[in-house]
Amino acid sequence: MQLHQSYKMELDVEKIRKDFPILARLLNKKQLIYFDSAATSQCPRIVIDSIKGFYEKHNANIHRGIHKLAEESTLMYEEAHQKVADFINADFEEIIFTKNTTEALNLLAYSLLNDLKENDEIILSQMEHHSNIVPWQQLAKLKKVKINYVKVTEEGKLNLIHLKSLINEKTRIVSITHVSNLLGTINPVKEISEIAHEKNIIFIVDAAQSIPHMKVDVKDIDADFLVFSGHKMCAPTGIGVLYGKKVLLEKISPFLYGGDMIKEVTFENTRFNDLPWKFEAGTPPIAEGIALGVAVDYLNSIGMENIEEYEDKLTQYLYKKLKEQKDVKIYGPEKRSSLVSFNLYEIHPHDVATILDSEGIAIRAGHMCAMPLVKEVLNESAVCRISLYFYNTKEEIDKFILALDKVRKVFGK
């Protein structure tokens, strides 16, 4: 398969869809409509082939062997780091491969909270995914560090005035999501970065929901750390990324200890390896890391600006169509990233999802791993979520809107 030629263009979605073998699948005897890419996106053939190709031709451990295979796998794995670095405008040493966003955030929580004192404070927001709440919450208890949550406005945006009011001389860390996985809100991370840096506070961006859909530039945002997962951006599961400014990564201590992250070991002491390997203990997911590099190539070949533009139109179309339904309640602002969460009448999201599933439509239903937001801010027990990617089409959205009638019919509405 050839990569696409990237230049400013309308996406040839029919052609792009052929790159994704799973999209040809039937689901419950209906043509699959995959609307759950915010949970995990699908892999193009070129990524799937790279995993197969690695195991068939190059499989060896990295940074260890003297033999040719080890040299190849090491080169390929390191090259993937460089591709990811270029993708977000970072340097090679600043890219650490992790298992996923969650692991990257755990790494930060462990390594950064280590240096915090009792009564120090950190700031999160009410719209965080559990992965950007639970690691901080649990470790903060041990260190007696206080967590403050930035409120979400009625419209579903971050309340920046509240954020500013939470900052004081004890605030050490601000960790905020770039795009809400439930509300779709695109947070002004550049502005938040300025607010935090004015007071020398470390600023962490959870980019899991933004990286797949828009151009993200860590230097432009001036993020101290930025984390994301491969499996939401056309790569396989098991690989994620921690970006950190070099000066900060050099300062903080590793989270996992073991092989490959060392330079010299005696029975008493260890000198840690250079960046980024200081943070990559043990044999990493090599094939997955390489596949992430291939996914980045693939996304680049389509062009992140093109993806963003196409998805924006598609999301606006979905938003408009859902807004026309009198019995649908939508959560979050109108200007949003590529997802829409909603509820239909009083019908439980699980029931909506089950009936849509019987029509071949895969959506997410539940609390989206943002339980405090759903229960305590939106006052719901669950929501339905449609999340789009550049391989989705208006025709699929039309079919989904029609399928809502079937849901209504089953429940006699």
Partner: protein, 138 residues
Amino acid sequence: MTQNQIIDRDYAGEGIYRENIIDHYKSPRNFGILENSDAEYMEFNPLCGDEATMQIKIKDNLIKDIKFKGKGCAISMASCSILTEKIKGKSLNEVKKLEKEQVYEMLSIPISPQRVKCALLSWETLRRLIKIYENKNG
């Protein structure tokens, strides 16, 4: 299971929403609050946010009365309604022996792996409720 078996497995789809289920969902039996209950328990399904609270009144080892309240999908709420209806008047020993499979039978719909927790919310609540009652009453 091989991959093909997973894909080709008979699919129930919206067929789980049989008339009986929708009926119990829309007009749940034993829905409400029991005054002076002998035991009470609230169970929560973190996967989908469903919750059910059950209360019982026991006399001479018989379930004299049972009521539930809750919020959830059609399957979990219908399951609470059907189960409470079935066990009312039964002996504590009988109810203790109740197996998961019997709950599936009561629902008489095919339950996919993703909906097991919904279907069994009632059974889990009841099981723990009875334990609480027994702990209280030796």
